[in-house]
Amino acid sequence: MSIWNWIMNYRFQAYANKDPQRQKMVQLATFEALDLMETNPDQSLALLNEAQGIARQLQEEWWVMFCEHWKLQILMHRKKDYATAQKLAVQAAVEVLKPQYASFPQKSCLYEDLINVYLGIDPEGYAAEIESALAYMKETVTPEKECWQCLHSLYAEFPAVRERWDVAAEPTLRFLAESQEEEHHLMYAYSSMCELLLEQQNLSKIGEFAELGLKLAESNDKDYMVVEFLAWQGLSAYQAGQHPLAQKKISAAEQASQTLASVPTRATYKAICAYYQATGQFDKALQTRHQQWDKINGRGQLMGEFVCLREICTLLKQLGQPFEAEFELAEQTAHQMKKPQRFLAQLATLKDKDEG
């Protein structure tokens, strides 16, 4: 049974049985809460809590966990609050071990959430665990299941968050291929492609994927992805020599990001900074990284924090400004990760060059 079939059948039964409590629970957990994910994630979380309260009263354990999955999605992808997500994801992974969840259709999603949490927190430190967890999921998830594309998105994200661009192409292209039939995932696949192309310095191709992605983001009302694709379009336009258009797109992305209810994606900041660096506006790139820092600091995303601090140090250095405090913080952040060696080496290079 697929997740959405289960939901639709359940909803139908609730209406057929004239069961207002269950109707309200489904209404809150699906239509009301999920509708608000983009525009008001906090309220969306509150609705999911409310629906969970009803589910607990009714002893509808599957619904409790359905809400838990969506809470995790909001915490990770809209609020970037990995500290809270980690606790929920661990508890959920333990909870679904109970016999009543044996055939719960969203069980795999909750395991994928746990992988996702560690991808956000410390993908390098947990690389071995993530790798074997992904392999385990590949054994249990089949292509006809909804989480098949989610699994491939995790495969694509894994090298990207670790900045292992040497091995990122295959899983990213695979994700793109697997998502062709499913708009929602396809949009994220386009985003992964843009980031990969930037790292491969194949900037002329970014515009194509950004345009496709923007259309999907707009038609799916994913405002935070609209912002990201506008930023990619700006970068791409600059590379194509369309400087006024590039400026316009970047400004639009920056303005829209100010009013976003969600925290902009990692790639949004990356694209905007790449544009400013390409145009020699290092102060603006620095400003962008500071904005990112304000949004992600203290939310458990160690890798994200480290990368942001490292980029801030690099930019400060390019601007000829002191960066001891930021450097120290970056070092501290790296030390909180399980395998900090690679990142400490990056910092050392930065320092060496500075001293040189």
């Binding site: 309200k24 209404q27 809150l28 009301e32 608000l36 008001n40 906090d42 309220q43 979380l45 509150a46 609705l47 809590n49 409310e50 309260g53 980690q86 606790k87 661990v90 508890q91 992974a93 333990v94 909870e95 071990l97 395991y111 746990l114 949490v117 560690y118 947990y126 665990e129 074997s132 967890a133 392999a135 385990y136």
Partner: protein, 620 residues
């Protein structure tokens, strides 16, 4: 080198498919366009051929048997040339042209005209596979003309000889496509006409009815605008008793330092009695431009925080998109939004200051929405900070009222009502406790503290409640009691707290149950192996799993007279032990934490044993 000029070739069926099929969101729009064309025809007749006794009207007839929908107007009709130049020329609009011509000569009348782009007529092919038009122009010596099209590249135009000739005007008959029979449902048809044409001044009659189905004017232009607006809200929004209605008016919006822009604005906003579910958002408007319906549920014209407000506006500054189903979000859109925000803000301020009961009703009905958006919008927060009413353990009160009871701090519970144990502690503190179960209330309180710039402490009662305990200054007195519990492997501590009638409370670490389950899953290897490290590392990072701690700690209240008596004047050992066990089990049960069946059996066994001992007959 020779250059040739050539015409574009139009493939009409393809164009019809694109325009009719992709431009509009719903086939109902086809009906809207035809009604508006009929309306424009009547207005043009008034403009170009004024007659003293002319009474414009539009009639709509349906025939399910013949599968036809007919729209008849007594407007100015069309000549053969006008059919060729306008009706059959896509992108050229007679009305649009006339409107441009009148823009300077008669701007008010120009505004009554709706047509603009010259392809609305095509939208009829959304619902029809064939269209027949019978028309006679008001211009002298014009024949009756029949125009027919099946949506192909060619149309037929025939001059009819009818004696006596039909009245001046146009009759359009649509042969309705299969699958669009909704137009034959009288209720749907009436609703559709009302939705699109309620405010158009030309009366519209359905199937020979004697009364027009449209209002023919907006409620704010009625003789009794207030009463008519309430009736309109009931009829259109199914809202019998809104809390209040805020009429809108023209507004000057600032443009730089010394300049301003006059925004013509009509309509009203209203506040429903409550949100239909605890969190349902409104914040939407029905939008008209010069009485022409554009869209409902437009959410971007009201400020973000105004999710408890609905309304209807008519503003000629707004620019419709080509489909006329939505608005261009240009600079004027922003100005109109600004004007609405200004008037709504002033009205709410006025209500808050002059009509506290109404304000209370608004706050009560939409409390969740208002707190939620106030946290996100500084300006709105300032407007409502001192006026919001919060539910507390001592009744409803605003934050300034609360601070009169408890000047040093806000005491709050984030779980709805909290456990009985938490409420009891709160009451013991002799302060009202705010119900902060709605996610936005705690951030609201934090924002209030920062904004009020006062020394106010925030105390979450359902966090670590041990923060409400004070250490016992003379623990030696109570050592025998502690020693008993230690022998029983029960963690216990000596503290003082209010109310002093409570002898003991059992406190567990946060998520104790979840942590116990996690421990069990790890100990018994229940997790799929690749996930074990994720879970075990998390457990380590969060302080590990101390078995003893997870069993909870019994806090003996040394301020309680019973505990003092047991310590200072202990009864015989067996009675003391029975009493202490009883206190422990009562505290466990009272804590509201889930007990395993085995725990519950043990709790009852101890309780029964203790009561049996305490109630045994005395041996005198």
């Amino acid at each position: 080198m020779s250059t040739q000029q050539a015409r574009f070739n139009l493939h009409l069926p393809g164009l019809l498919e694109v325009l009719a099929g992709s431009l509009y969101s719903s086939p109902k729009v086809g009906l809207r366009e035809l009604i508006q064309n009929a309306h424009d025809s009547c207005t043009r007749r008034q403009l170009e051929h004024p007659e003293r006794f002319y009474r414009p009207k539009i009639e709509i007839f349906t025939s399910a048997g013949e599968e036809t929908l007919t729209i008849r107007d007594n407007g100015q009709g069309l000549t053969a040339a006008e059919i060729r130049d306008y009706l059959a020329t896509i992108g050229r609009s007679y009305t649009g042209q006339l409107k441009d011509e009148l823009a300077f000569l008669n701007p008010e009348k120009a505004q009554e005209l709706i047509g603009q782009f010259g392809f609305g007529f095509l939208s009829a092919f959304l619902v029809a596979d064939q269209i027949t038009l019978l028309t006679r122009s008001v211009k002298p010596d014009q024949p009756t003309l029949k125009w027919h099209s099946a949506g192909g590249e060619f149309y037929e135009l025939t001059e009819l000889e009818i004696d006596p000739p039909p009245p001046v005007g146009t009759t359009i008959t649509l042969h309705v496509k299969a699958g669009f029979s909704f137009v034959f449902d009288p209720e749907i048809l009436e609703e559709t006409v009302q939705q699109f044409a309620d405010f158009l001044p030309v009366p519209i009659y359905l199937n020979g009815g004697k009364k027009p189905v449209n209002l023919t004017r907006p409620p704010w232009e009625a003789a009794d605008p207030a009463g008519e607006t309430l009736r309109y809200i009931q009829r259109t929004f199914y809202e019998a008793a809104p809390l209040c209605v805020i009429p809108l008016h023209d507004q000057e919006t600032p443009l730089g330092e010394d300049d301003s822009l006059h925004v013509p604005l009509q309509g009203f906003l209203f506040i429903p009695p409550s949100s239909t579910v605890s969190v349902h958002e409104y914040g939407d408007l029905n939008v008209y431009i010069r009485r022409m319906f554009i869209c409902d549920q437009e959410k971007k014209l009201l400020p973000n925080w105004a999710k408890f407000v609905r309304g209807v506006i008519d503003c000629p500054y707004l620019q419709p998109t080509a489909s006329r189903e939505s608005l261009h979000q240009d600079e004027f859109f922003g100005r109109v939004r600004q004007a609405i925000e200004q008037q709504l803000g002033q009205a709410l301020q006025h209500i808050a200051e002059n009509n506290p009961n109404l304000w209370k009703a608004i706050i009560y009905g939409h409390a969740n929405l208002i707190t939620g958006w106030a946290v996100r919008d500084d300006h709105f927060f300032k407007q409502v900070a001192n006026l919001m009413v919060f539910r507390t353990s001592r009744g409803d009160m605003t934050l300034p009222e609360y601070l009169k009871h408890s000047p040093a701090g806000f005491y709050f519970l984030t779980r709805h009502l909290g456990t009985l144990q938490e409420q009891l502690l709160a009451e013991g503190h002799d302060t009202p406790v705010i119900d902060a179960s709605w996610f936005a209330i705690e951030p609201f309180l934090r924002k209030y503290v920062a904004w009020a710039q006062k020394e106010i402490q925030l105390v979450q009662m359902d966090g670590d409640i041990s923060q409400l305990f004070r250490p016992e200054p003379n623990p030696a007195v109570f050592a025998p009691l502690l020693s008993f519990y230690q022998k029983q492997a029960i963690r216990a501590q000596l503290v003082q707290f209010k109310p002093t009638d409570v002898p003991a409370l059992m406190v567990y670490p946060a998520d104790a149950e979840a942590r116990l389950e996690t421990k069990k899953a790890l100990d018994q290897n229940e997790l799929p192996s690749p996930f074990v490290n994720f879970v075990s590392d998390f457990v380590q990072q969060t302080g590990g799993l101390n078995d003893e701690e997870l069993k909870g700690t019994l806090y003996l209240n040394t301020a309680c007279p019973l505990i003092q008596k047991l310590a200072q004047f202990p009864p015989p050992a067996a009675s003391l032990e029975a009493t202490l066990l009883l206190l422990y089990q009562v505290a466990r049960l009272f804590s509201g934490r889930t007990l395993s069946p085995a725990d519950a059996v043990q709790a009852f066994r101890h309780t029964t044993q203790a009561l049996t001992h305490l109630t045994r007959p005395t041996q005198e």
